[in-house]
């Protein structure tokens, strides 16, 4: 993992925050491939279908002194697993709703997920509509204008990426990170830390601490 932890740099102004991100979208649009490109910078043509959900993490630096860690739940796309998905998006602060630009039905499914997120997920959730398989431009079925217009209408971020070539994948996650309520998260983390000390509880092991 290519993480730049706060402690490697100066003590003074380093900021670190972590966020939960969920991927949703129709089967075989490339959700797992996008995550693997982002986390491991790799791609394979023959990836098994995701069953249930997969968990991965990745850390990115969004500016000289700010690092964001994503805890990513990559969900299964098949209709049958739909009821499971709420478990994963429930506490998510960000969602990547993926469709396949060569597959018309996949945008409808993406719209369904966006509707569901707006109804059920936490209110401040940052949603990005992401068209995958940009490398198959000649087979495109969904025009960029159409999808972009839909995203604009609902005030969502919009990106087109290729998990296969890697094009725009990192940018997409970085853009999401920039939209996340960083200050709010940092102050929450600060409060929680103080409370932990006050109550003399054992510090949570799975919480990365900010070094400032």
């Amino acid at each position: 993992m290519s993480s730049n932890t706060a402690t490697e740099h100066g003590q003074s102004a380093m900021r670190f925050a972590q966020f939960k991100l969920v991927l949703l979208g129709e089967s075989a649009v490339g959700k797992s491939s996008i995550v693997h490109r982002f986390v491991k910078d790799s791609f394979t043509d023959s990836r098994e279908s995701t069953i249930g959900a997969a968990f991965l993490t990745q850390t990115i630096q969004i500016d000289a002194n700010t690092t964001v860690k994503f805890e990513i739940w990559d969900t299964a796309g098949q209709e049958r697993y739909r009821s499971l998905a709420s478990m994963y998006y429930r506490n998510a602060q960000a969602a990547l709703v993926v469709f396949d630009i060569t597959q018309e039905s996949s945008l409808d499914k993406a719209k369904y997920w966006i509707k569901e997120l707006q109804k059920q997920a936490s209110s401040g959730i940052v949603i990005a509509l992401v068209g995958n398989k940009l490398d198959l431009e000649e087979e495109r079925k969904i025009s960029k204008d159409e999808a972009q217009a839909f995203a604009n209408e609902l005030g969502l971020m919009y990106a087109e990426v290729s998990a296969k070539t890697g094009e725009k994948v990192k940018d997409c996650f970085k853009d999401i990170a920039l939209k996340l309520p960083l200050e709010e998260k940092l102050s929450q983390q600060g409060q929680r830390r103080r409370r932990t000390v006050d109550l003399n509880q054992r510090p949570s092991t799975n919480e990365q601490q900010c070094a400032c």
């Binding site: 075989a28 490339g30 394979t44 069953i51 249930g52 959900a53 968990f55 478990m87 396949d100 060569t102």
Partner: protein, 509 residues
């Protein structure tokens, strides 16, 4: 072994296990079939443990039992036997009954009547229509997803000499898989299973007992079909029954592909086929993919309550490759075998056998795949209870870290651990599951999952949320496993199941 006795029968055996969770792992004596250990049985007929509770049934009238639609009785057995209330079972049961009413069970019943009196009208030599031309055309929609897929191996070898890879007696095996016994009966390692297959009258309980600890590869295609009650042991009716089942399959297939395609089901299957067992070359060949596609599509259409659900594709593959292996010469590397070179007639047989046997297994776990997947929810909850009792420290640690069992064990139930272990190990595991049919896949499996998890307790206790989830979903942790590891896991699961059944029986009285 006396330790084991104490565990099972001693009054404080269960208590002591709670505090010494790792002790069982040292019981290497359990490697052999627990069924060989007479002290595990209460009397000579009944064996402790849910997976064997049906054994006494098997002895009486095997033929009838084999052909009966077990699924409904299994289901109700499962729910009444369980000492804990099962989740949402009444709803599941309703859906389940609905689905069994409209699925293949009727076909099995039909065959019961036909078993004794083979129909004279059966056309003998040409026993099924040629379905080679029934290759479904991909819709344009399907094609666009193909770009995500690895290149399909379409290369056909010249039809010159099929003898190079097919056994010289393959046509005879096709008609009657018992021909396999001719080449194995002289070898001692096969003798007990062969004897059980040849017993007159046939005793299913004996065959189950002899196959629990594994089936030699050469006998597997035959034994699996017998254990599932698909292949009749009765030599008088065997060939005609097999012929009819295969004909029925091909007829259904012909009808199915004349009708309008269910696009949603077809689309889901067609995008999953290219990513089924992607690391095994056998599954990259076009013929393999077309066969699995047909099998899955027929099953899905005939079981509308569940339809095709991802994971069912995984479950079809052990049958496909084991049944294929029956016809290949010993020197052929089956996992890399190019199926494009197989004669169509043989392909049809393998497909039909795969279809019927997959159906038999899915009958016992269909509520894993219906709406909201109540079977899986129940199994995950059973696993959670088992771990709480058997490995309390681990359960506590998971709770502290905020781990929900469904986060890691959903896949274990949905795919029967097929994503966690290599194919050769799955095949070995299925010997035992099938020998415990019909409860192997829906009851015993939960104990196996518990044993699987316990294998990693010590490591897991040192990890936090993130590491636990990533470790449990990482399949490389079993990459150095051998059959011995699987057998240890199965034996442990058996002991726990026996213990559990014993303990709850004790509470009941």
């Amino acid at each position: 072994m006396s330790q084991v006795n104490d565990f099972i029968f001693g009054t404080e055996g269960y208590q002591s296990l709670q505090h010494r969770p790792s002790l069982l792992r040292t019981l290497t004596g359990l490697r052999k079939s627990p069924m060989d250990n007479s002290h595990l049985t209460v009397d000579s007929q009944k064996v402790i443990g849910a997976s064997y509770s049906h054994l006494d049934l098997g002895a009486s009238d095997t033929q009838k039992r084999n052909s009966s639609p077990d699924s409904r009785s299994v289901h109700s057995n499962g729910s009444t036997k369980s000492p804990r209330p099962s989740l949402n079972l009444s709803k599941a049961k309703k859906l389940y009954d609905l689905s069994t009413k409209i699925d293949d069970d009727a076909d099995w019943n039909d065959d019961i009547d036909d078993l004794a009196t083979p129909s004279p009208q059966d056309p003998k030599p040409q026993f099924y229509p040629d379905i080679s031309d029934l290759k479904l055309q991909e819709s344009p929609m399907d094609r666009s997803t193909a770009s995500m897929e690895p290149p399909l191996e379409t290369q056909q070898l010249s039809e010159a000499q099929p003898a190079q890879f097919l056994r010289s007696d393959y046509e005879r095996i096709m008609k009657d898989p018992f021909v396999i016994l001719e080449r194995t009966s002289n070898q001692s390692k096969y003798s007990k299973i062969v004897k059980a297959l040849k017993n007159q009258p046939f005793d299913m309980a004996e065959l189950r007992k002899q196959t629990w600890s594994g089936v030699p590869a050469a006998l597997r295609p035959l034994v699996w079909q017998v254990l599932l009650g698909y292949l009749p042991v009765n030599s008088a009716t065997r060939e005609s029954v097999l012929r009819r089942k295969r004909k029925e399959y091909t007829n259904s297939m012909t009808q199915l592909f004349r009708a309008e395609k269910d696009q949603a089901v077809w689309h889901q299957i067609s995008i999953d086929i290219p990513r089924t067992n992607p690391t095994i070359k056998l599954y990259s060949f076009e013929s393999t993919q077309r066969s699995l596609e047909k099998v899955l599509y027929l099953w899905a259409v005939r079981h509308p309550a569940s339809g095709y659900v991802q994971g069912i594709n995984d479950l079809a593959t052990p049958f496909y490759q084991i049944f294929l292996s029956a016809y290949l010469c010993d020197h052929v590397d089956m996992e890399a075998f190019n199926t494009n070179q197989l004669p169509q007639e043989l392909i049809n047989c393998i497909e039909a056998d795969t279809y019927w046997c997959l159906t038999k297994v899915l009958d016992t776990i269909q509520d894993n795949y219906i709406h909201e997947q109540p079977g899986i929810i129940r199994q995950v909850s059973e696993l959670r209870d088992l771990v709480k009792r058997d490995e309390p420290y681990l359960a506590e640690h998971f709770e502290h870290e905020g781990i929900d069992f469904i986060q890691f064990s959903f896949r274990w139930m949905n795919c029967m651990l097929m994503r966690e272990l290599r194919m050769e190990l799955i095949v070995r595991m299925w010997d035992t599951y099938l020998s415990s049919y019909p409860t192997g896949f829906n009851q015993f499996h939960v104990y196996v999952c518990c044993a699987f998890l316990r294998r990693f307790s010590e490591q897991l206790l040192e990890m936090d949320f993130q590491d636990i989830i990533m470790f449990l979903q990482d399949t490389s942790k079993t990459s150095d496993w051998t059959e011995a590891d699987v057998e240890m896991m199965l034996s442990e699961a058996f002991v726990w199941q026996s213990l559990y059944e014993n303990a709850t029986a004790h509470f009941r009285t």
